[in-house]
Every structure is written in structure tokens, then in C-alpha cells.
């Protein structure tokens, strides 16, 4: 009975935190001549408007949750990987680079290389912040964030050089991925067309692909390996105090580096999945995709748990689709999403305070 009451209180507080985010975003939306309740309505309803919108929610979910898995595991030890934003991009670049330069006997082999290559390249991207944190205690938030800016410039550089498309005509975009290197679509939706005998439907592919199963499989493996093993406790000790952890016989250096690298890997993989399942090409418009920061919110909202983060990721994906509809209706820029994300981030720190949870941030 007491536990149920506690859980109820926790859920209520989280709902209040999320409402605070909606309120802040809708208040800013007023400057776009759209009523407060109207914008709340659009945010809530539009993701369910049709099958296509719903599939787009899952498209966002794959991108966000794949990054968030790495962020969440690192967050268990109090490490904040804000670098997912840039690691996603360099992963996407590597995916296209491998697709362009490697030919193997079988497409499945190439696709596997693309995913692993993207993951490992993003891991290399995370190496310097990982070592600086583990060795000198340099705040990983600052270093990973600055590398995000490097990553967006690097992506533009790559789009103008190594992965530049054949027919890009001076625009910064890559070639389209050949169809055998794409993930097949998982879902089709009926699109209305005009025919000679009135209105008909054709079934078209949504952008939701089989990449979903890779993400879910990874989540299940992580759940078993991390949350159903002593590792969970070890990470919790590291989050509390590095000194305490080393007294307990934990190799803090190794665990910190491993977690930061793993977070880089999942973010790079997410970039690969997004190219191979959704976009098929990269252009300069993608450099501020925002999935990396949304993943941080998802992991924080999900209390760094695999299941909690999944729920948070799907919820955030709904909000993103809602806010994209809001942007179309009102002409408000994407920035309005950050008002929501920022407010919820601050609000959940207050929720954690009310619930008496210890702040998780690793200090040397």
C-alpha cells in the first residue's frame, strides 16, 4: 500500500514537470498568435491524427532511444554524455563513407560493417572526453558539448569532401544510399490519391523500418547485462563517489572510459540506423537534428533505467511530432522544442529533490 502511494506521488510529480514544459512552450507560442489551449491541443492530438504521423513517432523513437540507451547506462554512474548529438552525426557520416568506399560480396555484410563502423568511429569521437574525465576529472558535459560543435563542422566538411554526392551541384548533400543497403520498411500507410473514378488509396511505405528491432534487441541485452547483474550496483557506487568505488575494488578509470565509449557507440549506431532506415542520405539541414539532447532528457526523465528511458523516449517522440505540427500551424521555429525540453529538465531536478533522491553527478 505504501509503495503504491509512493509510486502514485512520483508519477504525479513527473506529470506536473511535463505540464510545466508544455506551459512554457505554449506561452512562447502565444507570440505566434496561437492561443494557449489551441497549441496544447495540437501538441496532444496531432501525433494520433493518422497512421503516418504515428509511424513518424516511432521513427523519432528509434533515433532518440538508441542514443538514450548509452546516455542512460553512463548516467547510472553519474556520467553525462551530452555528445550524442555530434556522435550521431559522425556516425551518419561514417555510414555513408563505408557505403561509398566498401564493396563486399553480400549487402548484409556491408550493412553490418556500416553499423559497426559508425559505432566505432563515434566511439573514437568520445575517446578524448572519456580520457579527460577519467584521468583528470575534466567535466564531461563541457568537453562532449564542445565536440558537438566540431562534429557539425566536420559533417559539413565531409559533405563537401569524402562523402560529397555526385549530383550535389554545390549543395552540401551526399549520394542516396543504394536500395540494397537500406532497411526495408516495416509499415505501409494508405495515401489518398485522385483516380478516374473518384478518390482511391495507394499503400505507401512509411519511414519506419526494421531498424526498430536492432534498437529493441540492444535494449533487452542491456537490460539483462546491466540491470539484472551486480554491474548496476557497481555503477551506482561510482556515481556516489569515485574514492568509495576504488576502495570497493572497482577500477574507476576503466569503467568511466568504457561507459563514455559505449555511449559514443550507441549514438553512432543511431546515426547509422537513421541513415539506413529513414533518410538514406545526409544533407547540411541535418546538422541540428537535436536527437542527442532529446536523448539526454529521455535518460534523465527515465531515471537512467532501460524501461523508464524507453517510456520517456516514446513520450518525447510524441511531443516532437506534436511540436512539429505546432510549428507548421503557427510558423514557430524548432527552437520552441528546446523551451519544452529545458523546462522539463529543470523541473525534474526539482522533482528529484522533492522525492529525496540523491543528485547523480560523478566528481573525481
Amino acid at each position: 500500500m505504501k509503495r503504491a502511494k509512493e509510486a502514485f506521488l512520483t508519477i504525479t510529480l513527473y506529470i506536473v514537470a511535463i505540464l510545466a514544459g508544455f506551459m512554457a512552450a505554449s506561452t512562447v507560442a502565444i507570440t505566434y498568435n496561437i492561443g494557449f489551449l489551441d497549441s496544447l491541443g495540437i501538441l496532444a492530438v496531432s501525433p494520433f491524427a493518422d497512421l503516418f504521423n504515428f509511424s513518424e513517432v516511432l521513427v523519432r523513437f528509434i533515433a532518440i532511444y538508441t542514443i538514450a540507451l548509452g546516455v542512460a547506462i553512463a548516467l547510472k554512474a553519474g556520467l553525462w554524455n551530452i555528445g550524442g548529438e555530434g556522435q550521431f552525426l559522425v556516425g551518419a557520416v561514417m555510414t555513408l563513407f563505408i557505403a561509398k568506399s566498401l564493396s563486399t560480396p553480400h549487402p548484409a555484410l556491408t550493412m553490418t560493417t556500416m553499423m559497426l563502423g559508425a559505432g566505432f568511429f563515434a566511439m573514437a569521437w568520445a575517446l578524448v572526453p572519456a580520457l579527460l574525465k577519467a584521468r583528470f576529472g575534466v567535466n564531461e558535459i563541457v568537453t562532449t558539448l564542445l565536440l558537438n560543435i566540431v562534429a557539425s563542422s566536420f559533417t559539413l566538411y565531409a559533405l563537401d569532401g569524402p562523402i560529397r554526392g555526385q549530383g550535389s551541384f554545390g549543395y552540401l548533400l551526399s549520394d542516396v544510399l543504394p536500395s540494397e543497403l537500406r532497411f526495408p520498411a516495416l509499415l505501409k500507410y494508405p495515401r489518398a490519391i485522385e483516380t478516374s473514378s473518384g478518390v482511391g488509396f495507394v499503400w505507401e511505405d512509411t519511414r519506419l523500418s526494421y531498424a526498430l528491432f536492432i534498437t529493441l534487441a540492444m535494449a533487452i541485452i542491456l537490460y539483462i547485462v546491466v540491470e539484472r547483474s551486480p554491474l548496476e550496483t557497481h555503477l551506482g557506487v561510482v556515481a556516489r563517489s569515485w574514492r568509495l568505488a576504488s576502495y570497493a575494488g572497482i577500477n574507476v578509470f576503466r569503467i568511466v572510459v568504457a561507459l563514455m565509449l559505449f555511449a559514443g557507440f550507441t549514438a553512432g549506431l543511431s546515426g547509422a540506423l537513421h541513415i539506413m532506415g529513414v533518410l538514406y542520405r545526409l544533407d547540411s539541414g541535418q546538422i541540428d537534428h537535436g536527437f542527442g539532447y532529446l536523448a539526454v532528457l529521455a535518460a534523465a526523465l527515465g531515471r537512467a533505467k532501460i524501461v523508464g528511458t524507453a517510456l520517456a523516449s516514446i513520450f518525447i517522440s510524441f511531443v516532437i511530432i506534436g511540436s512539429e505540427s505546432l510549428q507548421r500551424v503557427s510558423g514557430a521555429p524548432y527552437a520552441i522544442t528546446w523551451v519544452f525540453v529545458g523546462t522539463v529538465m529543470v523541473a525534474i531536478t526539482i522533482v528529484e529533490y522533492i522525492r529525496g533522491w540523491r543528485p547523480s553527478a560523478a566528481t573525481a
Binding site: A25, T31, I141, V150, A335, G342, V344
Partner: protein
């Protein structure tokens, strides 16, 4: 292994033109943003609070300063409004970070994203398109003093050095040094950040000191933002701080929480930034590849930490909220 053509062209420019000297003047104009932010945040961190949200406060400061300057035509009014915005946000942040003792990393991140979103969205809906404002600049102008000084490069340098906010930001370095090292207040701030329990035992109100230090840092961050919009550029752009707030945080690491060393690190960074800017703008061909040069200052930050900040030791109680027992 072939060097990128941009790099070879840059080396040529370094040898054949006075670009090293020209960049010095530019670097002095870039420096105040990082200096205001880092000198303010240094005091905040010395007291044991990490405000990761200074980037957000800078953006709000830059936006407020710009909007008020557009409305009233006076950059001083803009500066005051920016200070007010920094005051309001940092009072809120110090309340949740110090009094409640929430997770400072998460709250700071939230503050940054909030600032990024609010300024971006409101700029689109409220700001006039393409209006440059009167800037808070030097009373001298390059063209009028060039004949007196003889060289254009020296004249640029003098003009940069006489811009009021540049002077104030440079003055902050000795002021912060003397404050932290030679005054009782500074020692109080340091003691609160190193050993809050002992500070409390001798009768210091730990949380009051931390709140004041956080508010001071927030105000400095908002001035850093205002400098960008109403002194350096005379304009506002979405996300215009471009990570300068996070660079300032990194410079504090590199300077090992010492004002003078933080200043040296910031100066080195600004100089590298200025150098890449002047090289990138030296020819159309290079300007088209701005994204190559744009990476340089951010990579420089990491290198500066590696060179200068290896033995850095943060204040012992950084990010540890204090609860009186």
C-alpha cells in the same frame, strides 16, 4: 598522407602577411565574451556551485540587450536590461541549486536549452528583421586615428582596447585575483567551496555566500552575452554564443581555478579563434570552406586543457550542496 589544402594556404598567409598582428586586434574583441563569463563563473565555482547554464544566461542576456537597444536606441539601457535578466535567472538557479540542492549538472543543462529555445523562438516572432543597433563601442574610429599612429593594424588595436566593455573585462582579471586572494570576502568564498562544514563551524553562512557568488556569476554571464550582441556585433542571431559559455567553463579548468591562468588560457583561445577568423575571411576561396576553420577553436579548447589543465584540482565541494546538520 596529404595535408588539407586549407592548412597549406593558411601557413602561406601566416608567413607572407601581417595576419598575426591583425588577429591580435580581433582577438581582443573576441576575448571579453569568454572573459566576462569565465571570471564570473570562476567566483561561482570557487564557492562550490557549478552553473552549467551560463550559456543559456548569455543567450538571454544577448537577446534582452538587443531587444531593449532596438526599442530605446540606447545600448546602455540594453546593458542594464541584460544585467536584470541575468539577475532574475540566477536568483532562480541559485535557489534550486543552493537552497534546495538539486542536481546542478541537469539543472544547468536545462537552463541552457531553455535559454536557447526562448531566445530563438522569441527572436523569430518579436525582433525586427535585419536591424543593426548602435553599439557600445570605442569613442575612437580606425579611420580617424590611422594617420596619427601611422599603421592601420596599430589603429585597430587601439580602437579595440578603448571599447568600454573590453576595458572592463580586462580589468576584471586583476579585480578577481585581488578579490579571491587578498580580501576576506574572497577567502570566505574559497573556504565555502573547499570545506563548507568548517566554514559553517566558524559562523559563515555557507548558503548565503554561495547564492551571492552564483548571482554574481550569472550577472557576468549576461554581460558576456550583451557584449556579443550590442558591442561586438550590433545584432542578434539564434544560438549566437556558439558554445562560448562552455568554452569559458573549459578555460576555468585549464586555468586551474586561478584568475590569471584562466585569463592566459582565454587569451590563447581568443587568439586562435581570431587567427582562424582572419584566415578564413582573407579570401573567398577559403571563406567558402568556413566549416574547416570553424572546428579549430573548439579543438583548441581541448588541447589547451591537455596542455595547461592536467594537474587541475577543482574546489573540493564543487557540486556538493551543503545541508546544515
Amino acid at each position: 598522407m596529404q595535408l588539407p589544402p586549407e592548412l597549406i594556404k593558411s601557413l602561406e598567409l601566416l608567413i607572407t602577411t601581417p595576419i598575426l598582428l591583425i588577429s591580435l586586434a580581433i582577438s581582443l574583441r573576441i576575448l571579453p565574451t569568454i572573459l566576462f563569463a569565465s571570471m564570473g563563473e570562476l567566483v561561482t565555482e570557487k564557492s562550490g556551485v557549478l552553473n552549467l547554464g551560463i550559456e543559456g544566461i548569455m543567450l538571454v542576456g544577448a537577446f534582452t540587450a538587443y531587444m531593449v537597444t532596438v526599442a530605446y536606441g540606447d545600448p546602455l539601457a540594453g546593458l542594464l536590461a541584460a544585467i536584470l535578466s541575468g539577475l532574475v535567472i540566477s536568483i532562480f538557479f541559485s535557489y534550486i541549486a543552493v537552497v534546495l540542492g538539486v542536481n546542478q549538472a541537469a539543472a544547468g543543462l536545462g537552463l541552457w536549452l531553455f535559454g536557447l529555445g526562448v531566445t530563438g523562438a522569441l527572436y523569430n516572432s518579436m525582433a525586427p528583421v535585419g536591424v543593426s543597433v548602435k553599439t557600445l563601442g570605442s569613442p575612437l574610429s580606425v579611420s580617424s586615428i590611422t594617420p596619427i599612429l601611422g599603421s592601420r593594424e596599430v589603429a585597430e588595436l587601439v580602437v579595440s582596447l578603448t571599447s568600454p566593455l573590453v576595458v572592463v573585462s580586462l580589468a576584471l582579471v586583476p579585480i578577481t585575483y585581488i578579490f579571491l586572494r587578498k580580501t576576506l570576502w574572497g577567502l570566505t568564498v574559497t573556504s565555502v567551496g573547499e570545506d563548507p562544514a568548517s566554514a559553517d563551524a566558524i559562523g559563515i553562512n555557507v548558503n548565503r555566500v554561495r547564492i551571492l557568488a552564483t548571482i554574481y556569476g550569472g550577472i557576468m554571464a549576461s554581460i558576456a552575452g550583451a557584449y556579443l550582441s550590442i558591442s561586438y556585433l550590433g545584432d542578434f542571431r539564434h544560438g549566437m554564443t556558439a558554445g562560448r559559455g562552455f568554452m569559458a567553463l573549459a578555460m576555468i579548468y585549464a586555468g586551474n581555478w586561478d584568475p590569471v591562468r584562466t585569463f592566459i588560457a582565454s587569451l590563447a583561445l581568443s587568439y586562435i579563434d581570431a587567427l582562424q577568423l582572419s584566415i578564413a575571411s582573407s579570401s573567398l576561396e577559403l571563406a567558402r570552406r568556413y566549416y574547416f576553420f570553424n572546428m579549430i577553436p573548439y579543438i583548441a579548447v581541448i588541447l589547451i586543457i591537455l596542455v595547461l589543465g592536467r594537474r587541475a584540482k577543482p574546489p573540493s565541494a564543487l557540486m556538493k550542496p551543503f545541508k546544515k546538520t
